[in-house]
C-alpha cells in the first residue's frame, strides 16, 4: 500500500475501498454461484451432473419406426417417462407439455415432446398412437423391448418397477421428471410433472432465446 504518511486519513480510506471491493466480490461470487446452482440440472436421483442424464437408446415410435438418441439432435426436447395406464399424473404432465408447446407460438417447432413408456408390456406402438393422438401437440411416443426400454431408462437415470396388485393387475412406480434436452442432445433442465404449462413456457422461452 503506497499511502502518503502526510495524510493520515488515506489508509482508512483505502481500507474502506478494500472492504467495499471485497464485499462486491463476495456478492458477485454469491450471484454467480446462485446462477450456477440454478442452472445446474438435478437428475432423478439428485445427481448434479448434466452429463449423467441422457445417452444412447434405441426404441420405436408409435408408427413402428426406429427412434434413437440421434433423433433428439437439432431440436429442444421435453422427455417424460410414464405409462398409458396411469390415470392421473401422466396425462396431466403430457397435457401441460402439449399446452406449453402451443403457447410457444412460432417457436413451437423448435421443441419436441417425447413420451417414453416404462410399461412396454402393455404400451405397444398402437396403444401409444391412439393415446398421444388425443393431445394437441405432436408427441413422439416410444416403446420397445423390455431391454431397450430399460436401456433408455438407465440413460436418463429413471427408476421404474412393476408393482403387482392383489387383483392380478399392476401399477408402475416410476420417476416422474420432465427432462429438457438441448439441440445438442444435452441435458439442460428439469420440470416436475405437476408443472403448469405457463411455468414450462416461461422457462423454455428463456432457454431457447
Amino acid at each position: 500500500m503506497a499511502s502518503r504518511p502526510a495524510n493520515p486519513r488515506t489508509p482508512p480510506r483505502f481500507a474502506l475501498v478494500a472492504i467495499v471491493f471485497a464485499g462486491v466480490l463476495v456478492i458477485a461470487a454469491g450471484v454467480l454461484l446462485a446462477l450456477a446452482l440454478r442452472e445446474t440440472p438435478r437428475g432423478a436421483a439428485g445427481t448434479a451432473l448434466a452429463s449423467a442424464i441422457g445417452g444412447q437408446f434405441q426404441l420405436i415410435d408409435q408408427n413402428g419406426k426406429p427412434f434413437s438418441d440421434a433423433n433428439l439432435k437439432g431440436k429442444w426436447h421435453l422427455i417424460f417417462f410414464g405409462y398409458t395406464h396411469c390415470p392421473d399424473a401422466c396425462p396431466t404432465a403430457l397435457n401441460e407439455m402439449s399446452l406449453a408447446l402451443d403457447r410457444l407460438g412460432i417457436k413451437r417447432d423448435e421443441v419436441g415432446v417425447v413420451f417414453i413408456t416404462v410399461d412396454p408390456e402393455r404400451d405397444t406402438p398402437d396403444v401409444l398412437k391412439s393415446y398421444v393422438q388425443s393431445f394437441d401437440a405432436p408427441i413422439v411416443a416410444l416403446t420397445g423391448s423390455p431391454e431397450a426400454v430399460a436401456q433408455a431408462a438407465k440413460a436418463y437415470r429413471v427408476f421404474y418397477a412393476k408393482h403387482p396388485r392383489a387383483d392380478g393387475d399392476y401399477d408402475m412406480d416410476h420417476s416422474a421428471v420432465i427432462y429438457v434436452m438441448n439441440p445438442e442432445g444435452r441435458f439442460t433442465a428439469t420440470f416436475t410433472p405437476d408443472s403448469s404449462a405457463d411455468a414450462i413456457v416461461q422457462r423454455l422461452q428463456k432457454l431457447i432465446s
Binding site: 398409458t84 395406464h85 401441460e96 399446452l99 398412437k129 403448469s196
Partner: protein
C-alpha cells in the same frame, strides 16, 4: 357450514381420457355428518372401479389402491388430481368431455350413494371448467 343430515357429494368430475386409454380417474368432494368410511366405488363405464392414491416419494411416482377413505364428521374430504382418486379401470369407451356417467359410492354407515360424474376436458384441473389454462381442449375426438 350448516350441518347436513346427509352425506354430501360435490364436484364429481373426471377428465376426458386420451385415445383408447384403458384407465381414467374421477374426483369428488365428500362430506358426512357422522364419521364414516368410503370403502368402495362402482361405475358401469368401467370394468372395475377402485380407490387409489398417488404419492411422490422423491421424484418417484407411485399409485396404490386404498382400502378405504376415512370421512371425519362434517369435514369435507377431497379426492383430487395428484392425490386420492377413483380409478376407473378397463373403460368401456373413452370418457368424453361434456358427457357424464353415474358412479356409486359405498359407505360403511350411510350405505350406497349415487352421484353423476361430469367429464371435463383432458386439460381440466378441476370441476366446472376450472381449467388450468384457457387453451382449447386437447382431446380431438
Amino acid at each position: 357450514m350448516a350441518q347436513t343430515a346427509q352425506v354430501e357429494i360435490k364436484d364429481a368430475w373426471a377428465r376426458a381420457t386420451p385415445g383408447k386409454a384403458e384407465n381414467g380417474a374421477a374426483y369428488l368432494t365428500i362430506q358426512s355428518p357422522v364419521a364414516d368410511r368410503l370403502v368402495g366405488v362402482f361405475s358401469p363405464v368401467a370394468k372395475k372401479a377402485g380407490l387409489h392414491t398417488m404419492t411422490m416419494e422423491g421424484s418417484v411416482m407411485k399409485m396404490r389402491p386404498l382400502g378405504g377413505v376415512d370421512l371425519p364428521a362434517n369435514q369435507p374430504v377431497a379426492l383430487k388430481p395428484g392425490g386420492m382418486h377413483i380409478m376407473l379401470e378397463g373403460l368401456n369407451e373413452p370418457l368424453q368431455a361434456g358427457k357424464s356417467f353415474p358412479l356409486t359410492l359405498n359407505l360403511e354407515k350411510a350405505g350406497q350413494k349415487q352421484v353423476e360424474v361430469t367429464v371435463e376436458k383432458a386439460g381440466a384441473a378441476g370441476p366446472g371448467g376450472q381449467a388450468g389454462t384457457d387453451m382449447p381442449m386437447p382431446a380431438k375426438r
